[in-house]
């Protein structure tokens, strides 16, 4: 059985020594995932703290995106996937038989690598999920759409064209719209799968700043190939290699003094 790793050093990742034990919101216990006979995740145990940013890093195929998708059961949509172990969010096993997956995905939102706005207006992109979750009154919808766009740092850029097509926005704006859409229904957790990898440096900076703002209200788990991005925005970093969790610690520690040589070799660009 793999040991559960809980580094006892906390927010913000600006110091190497300040210590605080946060509340774990997500508890991954001995999780293994199989694509058919192939074991893609091997006995992962990990506790992720509330209202901080945790980055998953590792070379392609290491399982980081697979693990991310386990957190809102997106892997259920793939044939031949089998999972052993447990994932608890707020002490509830999200793989228990009675779990409503739609409700789960409301609590655990997701932003993907490629922005994927609906082919609708900017307003409708944010309002769509709200309507699905029972928002009816126009004033309530208007207020929540505005607040979500403000929280995604997009409002000032789109307030005069809310009813124009979302597809007319730039890549960075589309990605922030997807974040607005995700936060509109007030999830507890936001999963981000390389949310800035297709963006230019300016748009990337805006997304990174946005993530640092959002962590005040949300628990964020992000997969990134950009190690400096992980260093800039995350409090904790987990390094994966061929389906195994190699190391999990405070980000500053991972990037200045990792415990494992494999982690050091990866973060210094010697392999991967």
């Amino acid at each position: 059985m793999a040991e559960t790793l809980i580094p006892k050093i906390a927010t913000p990742a600006t110091t190497l020594t300040a210590a605080k034990t946060g509340t774990p919101l997500i508890e991954i216990e001995n999780l293994s995932l199989y694509y058919g006979a192939a074991k893609a995740l091997k006995d992962i145990s990990l506790k992720l703290e509330e209202k901080v940013v945790t980055a998953f890093i590792g070379p392609s195929g290491c399982g980081k995106s697979t693990l991310l998708r386990c957190l809102n059961r997106m892997n259920d949509l793939i044939d031949n996937v089998r999972i052993d172990g447990a994932i608890k969010i707020g002490s509830h096993d999200i793989y228990a038989a009675n779990v409503d997956v739609i409700e789960l995905r409301k609590r655990v939102g997701m932003v993907f690598q490629k922005s994927n706005p609906f082919p609708k207006s900017i307003y409708e992109n944010v309002a769509y999920g709200l309507r699905l979750h029972g928002f009816q009154s126009k004033s309530e919808l208007d207020g929540t759409v505005e607040q979500s766009l403000r929280n995604a740092a997009l409002w000032d850029e789109v307030k005069d064209r809310l009813h124009s097509s979302a597809l007319g926005l730039s890549g960075g704006q589309q990605q922030r719209l997807c974040i607005a859409r995700a936060i509109a229904i007030k999830p507890e957790i936001i999963l981000m799968d390389e949310p800035a990898s297709a963006l230019d440096p300016i748009a990337t900076t805006r997304i990174e700043e946005l993530i640092l703002e959002l962590k005040k209200d949300f628990t964020i788990v992000i997969v990134t190939h950009n190690m400096q991005q992980a260093a800039r925005i995350s409090n904790y970093t987990a390094f994966f290699y061929i389906g195994e969790l190699v190391e999990f610690d405070v980000t500053a520690k991972i990037f200045t003094n990792p415990a494992k040589k494999q982690t050091e070799d990866y973060v210094t660009g010697r392999f991967g």
Partner: protein, 218 residues
Amino acid sequence: MENHFESGLEALRQKILLMASRAETSVNQAVQALVQRDHDLAVKVREDDSVIDQFEVEIDEMAIVLLTKAPLASNLRLITVAMKVSQNLERIGDEATKIAKRARDLTQEPPVKINLDVNHIASLALAMVKDALDAFVHRDTAAARAIIPRDKEVDVLNKEIQQSLALHMMANPDAIARCLHWIVAIKSLERIADHAKNIAEEVVYLYEAQDIRHTLKS
């Protein structure tokens, strides 16, 4: 939206200024203890040195974390300069401690009967430290460059005082031990001026990206 990386750089800058203020205070108090034969003040300066040491450790720690975030251009220079400036400030603190130690020992002995212009060399060295930090704050590389030749003035004064003390020791062998304390204390003031010059050179590098170290030797 707040720029978190910029906030980190600003925190680093503020930390350097706080450290500089502590270092300047230590030098001022050490000189005061030396000139006024104030035993208690000398002891206090030595005790306070650990605060300056701690600043150096904290600044290095902040800088290392910022470096992991891949800063570039002027941000990169600021972080590396911060580490060097803090090291120079820590050494200024050490020199203040050395002066304070000699000041403390001298209070246990009768005064040396020699007229030394300690205040002059001390004020020159301290003004260099202050001006170097002002140049850092105001991004004023002209002011930083103007500090560098002033180090020579301090070197000359140091030499003059050392010569006076050497002559006094030859004429008064009973004062040798006390004069050696003075020689060390004055040499520390000269070293403080050297560190101020180093800081000024780093300020030029920070804002002009030009390394002027070792280029102005006459």
